[in-house]
């Protein structure tokens, strides 16, 4: 029983950054932009959120800094993919390389190469009703109770969401309807960037309380996979995040048990990627990519 409760708690915790990242990437892709800058954006959110919290002693300042970094990263992606109209994949990879580089550079600059990691007093766990499974960070509650439902609501029920979906599906039609395609894509990418960065900051401000190199460890790519797994639907993307997090939590716990140490858990961890590729392969041509996926828009 304890094992199960711990597993649920760990699943919710592990899923939290994925929820932020997946919702953020969904916004970018629904607007027609594949943002491969996500890995770097999460990384920079983790580092700069941590550094600001460390310097100011305030977690709020840290979180706001992460948001600012995410907004800037989204704006940079928008500048390259919307205003300039470069290849989205090259621009995204470039942003990831840049933000990882800038974060690690700044890390060396601020904290030096010291062996001991600086720590901050990270967010405390909330434990409503004394339930262990619900003993979670506020950011986890925000992810599941605010970001995911609000993210869905804005996309589905507001004019901003309507515009985002329109520019991602058929920018010509959106333009003809008087929607500013470029402005809408900027907004979507910046909202998405901010969410990705919060997802990264979750590690440093809540889960770990410190920053280590390689902290994101490919979770940005996991989010790319989850967005497609969820077919660009936030609900299904969140479900995918929970599944992945559950597998992750399970293997961590099994790994330390005697007799299980020979099991190649890496195979399990590779599952989300393989499942997405298999899903793409099986649905063949019928995958409903956003209509304007990877396409810059310029008025004819």
């Amino acid at each position: 029983m304890t094992f199960l409760i711990d597993l649920v708690a760990a699943t919710l915790r592990n899923a939290t950054p994925l929820v932020y990242g997946t919702v953020g990437e969904t916004y970018a892709e629904r607007a027609g932009v594949l943002n491969l800058g996500i890995e770097g954006t999460m990384y920079a959110g983790a580092f700069f959120g941590f550094a600001a919290a460390h310097a100011s002693g305030s977690l709020t300042v840290g979180l706001l800094t992460a948001v600012a970094v995410g907004l800037a990263a989204g704006a940079l992606m928008a500048f390259l993919s919307v205003t300039v109209g470069t290849n989205q994949h090259v621009a995204g990879i470039g942003i990831t390389l840049l933000l990882v580089g800038v974060s690690e550079f700044s890390n060396r600059l601020v904290f030096g190469g010291a062996g001991t990691l600086p720590k901050i007093e990270s967010y405390a766990l909330l434990s409503p009703f004394g339930l262990r499974a619900l003993s979670q960070y506020a950011l986890t509650y925000v992810a599941f109770l605010a970001v995911a439902p609000l993210g869905w609501w804005v996309l589905a029920r507001t004019s901003l969401g309507l515009n985002i979906r329109a520019v991602g599906e058929n920018p010509e039609a959106a333009d003809a309807a008087g929607i500013d395609v470029a402005r809408t894509r900027y907004l979507a990418l910046m909202i998405g960037g901010a969410l990705m960065a919060i997802g990264g900051a979750f590690f440093t401000l809540a889960a770990l309380g410190s920053f280590t190199l390689g902290i994101i460890a490919g979770r940005g790519w996991v989010c790319i996979a989850l967005v497609i797994f969820g077919r660009w639907r936030i609900g299904r993307g969140v479900l995918g995040a929970l599944l992945f997090a559950a597998v992750y939590a399970l293997q961590l716990r099994l790994r330390i048990l005697p007799g299980w140490d020979a099991v190649p858990f890496e195979l399990l961890l590779a599952l989300p990627y393989l499942v997405v590729i298999a899903a793409l392969a099986l649905s063949g041509r019928n995958v409903d990519y956003p209509g304007a996926y990877l396409k810059p828009y310029r008025r004819a």
Binding site: L34, G101, F105, W221, E266
Partner: protein
């Protein structure tokens, strides 16, 4: 109010092509100078360390070549694919697959003469890279499934395969470290010069760049590949089998990336480690883009990034600028270049009055 907008142009003006590298380097200097100043060094001194000093000693010049070796290969892999219009973001995974195959084969070929051992390892690595590239390539040509995401997602899978092997069956039994058994001596790529890490892999990489350059520019197959990349419709109309060429380019790209893994295992590490590639596959995208997807450009790009890598190391030691400056400079250069390349196809004009047909 004057608004700016993009206008397509038929041909880039003559002044632009020579001006682009100058503009790119100038913009990169300006943008990255902030980081240099933040770390308390003078920008000129830092850029001197980054771009000039490494060229002044034998050791650092050879280190540039060492650093450029995997980039020559991944850059070529990416350039060949991109030129054909196949967006292979998976060179990293293909490299790792090649590295796994090389480390596996390298331990088995102990009794064989060196040329045979090296050929066997190279063949295994190329085949592994090709195999890793096969699935996304087939999905693309058979079902029109976008290869950007599928090639990308196979990268973390390859990395998990590496860590899985190193934490499981291949863990070094003697030390318990997550490193594979050292490969046989006959499987090592021999050093080219005394007192240097420069190994035969560099020669192979340069030769491959030359061969790729020759094929893409001098043979019918190369012209067809380029036609497919530039205009698939026109290529098909002229009787070129677009799918076959896409598939071919994707697989060749994977094989070359696999060889980058062989080169690192057999020339530098002598075993499989988790750090066998610090992102050479991704950097290959930078190299290919900097080189405007041409193979002389790839050679230039790989050497330039090798220079920055080595320079960043020395700048770190001498000026106290974190060596990660190298990564920042590389990524900035990439983004500046992709932004500037758009100027070849479009110009910025003041928005005229009224719509045009």
């Amino acid at each position: 109010m004057t608004r700016l907008r993009w206008e397509r142009r038929a041909a880039p003006p003559a002044w632009l092509t020579p001006a682009l590298p100058v503009l790119a380097v100038a913009a990169t200097f300006a943008l990255t100078a902030v980081f240099v100043v933040l770390s308390g060094a003078g920008p000129l001194a830092a850029f001197n360390e980054l771009f000039v000093q490494p060229l002044t000693t034998r050791f650092t010049v050879l280190e540039i070549l060492v650093s450029a070796t995997p980039l020559l290969l991944t850059g070529t892999a990416v350039a060949v694919a991109f030129r054909t219009g196949y967006w292979n973001i998976g060179a990293e995974g293909q490299l790792l697959a090649g590295a796994i195959a090389a480390a596996g084969t390298g331990t088995l070929v102990g009794g064989l003469p060196r040329p045979v051992a090296l050929l066997a390892m190279g063949a295994a690595g190329a085949a592994a890279g090709l195999g890793w590239a096969l699935l996304p390539a087939l999905l693309r040509v058979r079902f029109d499934i976008d290869e950007v995401v599928t090639t990308l997602l196979l990268n973390p899978v390859a990395l998990l395969l590496v860590t899985g092997l190193l934490n499981g069956p291949w863990r070094d039994p003697a030390t318990g470290f997550p490193e594979s058994e050292r490969i046989a001596a006959s499987a090592e790529l021999p050093p080219l010069l005394a007192r240097s890490r420069l190994h035969l892999g560099f020669v192979v990489a340069v030769a491959l760049v030359a061969v790729a350059w020759f094929v893409t520019t001098r043979t019918p197959a190369g012209v067809r590949l380029r036609a497919v990349g530039l205009s698939p419709h026109a290529a098909r109309f002229a009787g070129i089998d677009v799918r076959r060429h896409l598939l071919g380019a994707a697989l060749v790209s994977g094989a070359i990336a696999g060889l980058a893994g062989v080169s690192e295992v057999a020339g530098i590490q002598y075993r499989l480690t988790e750090g066998v590639s610090p992102g050479y596959g991704y950097t290959g995208i930078v190299v290919a883009t900097l080189g405007a997807l041409s193979l002389p450009g790839v050679a230039f790009g790989a050497l330039l990034l090798g220079l920055v890598n080595v320079g960043a190391g020395t700048a770190g030691r001498r000026l106290g600028v974190p060596s990660q400056l190298g990564q920042v400079v590389q990524a900035t250069l990439l983004l500046v270049v992709v932004a500037l390349l758009v100027l070849r196809r479009y110009r910025i004009v003041r928005a005229g009055r009224g719509a045009r047909p």
